[in-house]
Symmetry: C2
Subunit: 309 residues, 2 copies
């Protein structure tokens, strides 16, 4: 099977979106912009041995790829529309590709995106997903704008599970279903992102760990801006607390990465979507950038997660 | 140096295009559509050991990546606007990255595109470039529409040089400057593509070899449509004819790949941009799809090039 046949068999689908002028199968895809909208675009790599284990199940590979990519659109408040897939495979195992493609297309349907282009090639197992969405003009939520007096809100599942999964994975235990679910099926918080248009002052998705991504927001804020997190309000994975204790659960929640929640800075007088969890406040501080219950956070908790397996 | 610092140092540039609302450095980039335009988008992989030699000079890597990607936009008649770069590097050699990034940014300036997003990660040497351009509404030139009576035109440099370079490369000779230039510095035919809006019935860029890409156009045409190429009109690389003889030069020109010319099917009554080369005619034939001077083309010449080094 050559590249052309591979695409025809596994990746050619007629687009559902009426704004697609030309889908997969030409030199490039063409789409018309929606009225009074702006395009939002990002690309993310998922590389075996780096972002996922070398022996990666095809459905998990597809789900992490899609979850990670669409989470970037969610973090802008964008509505996902299209994806382009650049896939590199060491060998063509039809079973693997079949499972990967099935799951990939399932997720396209679920999130309402069309696969409108891509590239396939022989090479080390990796995929690079370009995601495209849109927002009404001027409504994209960027990382700028966190300010003292705002509340800090989290949208998404409880924290630390993905990190805990990697911990047990390295010890050969893979039976922690909750954690496996968090790691292999990250859930992009698209509806929350859309609901936060015109509400959040600044937003980011937590892919590198709550503290590290919080620092990205703080980097863009004015000097002396800090955040005071309330440990009791942090949504810790219960199973993680039971198994490893509160301290470890808290550490994983603050530094773990791969959680794909949205972290938003919201003025206290605005109405917040009901699924939000208030975890702290933006404050003024000359000496610290992140506080936990009013105390400075240990330095190493601020380093975050670098996706290195 | 971590990923964040790498991006800051080498890949963060303020966008020049006034339609960019938010460039590199957030969860995603945002751009506004131009009035009455459609977006054109494609992604291409360049993988060391597959599309380029394992030991790949950084400037050549950048030039092939950009040339290959922008050639897809040229083939749609699109004006290039933005690129997103997903880069995977086995080690962080500042010298290599510095050269790569310098050349990459030079080419961005030259082709008028802004780098508005990307991803960098540790992994096998490869890059996946997402290219975005636009066309006036309804003006994208796709692969459909080749029809009997059309003339077949080529836009770009003479043919076969890139294939010849790989031939001598495998024999340890790398002194063929013309061929090296063709291979390492493919020249996307953007101006020709734009000039062919409203002129070409169908268009493709020659990346897999003239014959193979011609077959992609014929696959979309009605049954019994064929092409008669005129061997004397094919722009053969003179140096190739001198060195390997006419037959080999013709074979490389028809099957070689990596030439990145535009191949367009144009009604005979339309005015063609002056740099075009008329190489044949679209005809009717029940038995053959590609003819050379009226005779059937040898079967193996139709197989084309699969980018395998």
């Amino acid at each position: 099977m050559n590249e052309f046949e591979l695409i025809q068999k596994y990746f050619k689908k007629d687009p559902l979106d009426p704004f697609v002028v030309l889908g997969n199968g030409d030199d490039a895809a063409v789409f018309a912009p929606r009225y009074d909208s702006e395009a939002v675009i990002s690309v993310d790599a998922v590389i075996a041995g780096r972002h996922v284990p070398d022996l990666c199940p095809p459905d998990g590979f597809a789900a992490r790829l899609m979850g990670r990519g669409l989470s970037d659109l969610a973090a802008m408040g964008a509505t996902p529309r299209y994806v382009l897939l650049s896939l590199s495979l060491p060998t063509l195992e039809p079973g693997w590709v079949d499972h990967f493609a099935s799951r990939f297309h399932q997720l396209c349907v679920r999130f309402g995106v069309d696969l409108i282009g891509g590239d396939t090639t022989k090479g080390p197992l990796s995929a690079h997903l370009t995601v495209i969405g849109d927002v009404p003009r001027g409504k994209a939520i960027d990382r700028d704008g966190l300010k003292a007096g705002d509340d800090l809100w989290l949208f998404g599942p409880d924290l630390g599970g993905a990190r805990a999964y990697l911990g047990v994975l390295n010890q050969g235990e893979q039976d922690q279903e909750i954690w496996a679910e968090r790691y292999w099926r990250p859930e992009p918080q698209i509806d929350s992102g859309i609901a936060l248009r015109g509400v959040a002052n600044a937003m980011i998705d937590i892919s590198d760990g709550l503290c590290q991504d919080l620092l990205h927001l703080l980097d863009r804020a004015t000097k002396s801006t800090a955040v005071n997190l309330q440990s009791r309000k942090l949504p810790l994975c219960e199973h993680l607390v039971a198994r490893l204790g509160l301290d470890k659960a808290l550490e994983y929640a603050l530094t773990g990465g791969d959680d794909y929640c949205l972290l938003a800075s919201i003025p206290p007088d605005l109405r917040v979507p009901p699924n939000g969890k208030l975890i702290g406040m933006v404050v003024k501080s000359e000496s610290d950038r992140i506080l936990l219950d009013g105390n400075p956070l240990p330095e190493f908790w601020q380093l975050g997660w670098d996706h290195n397996l």
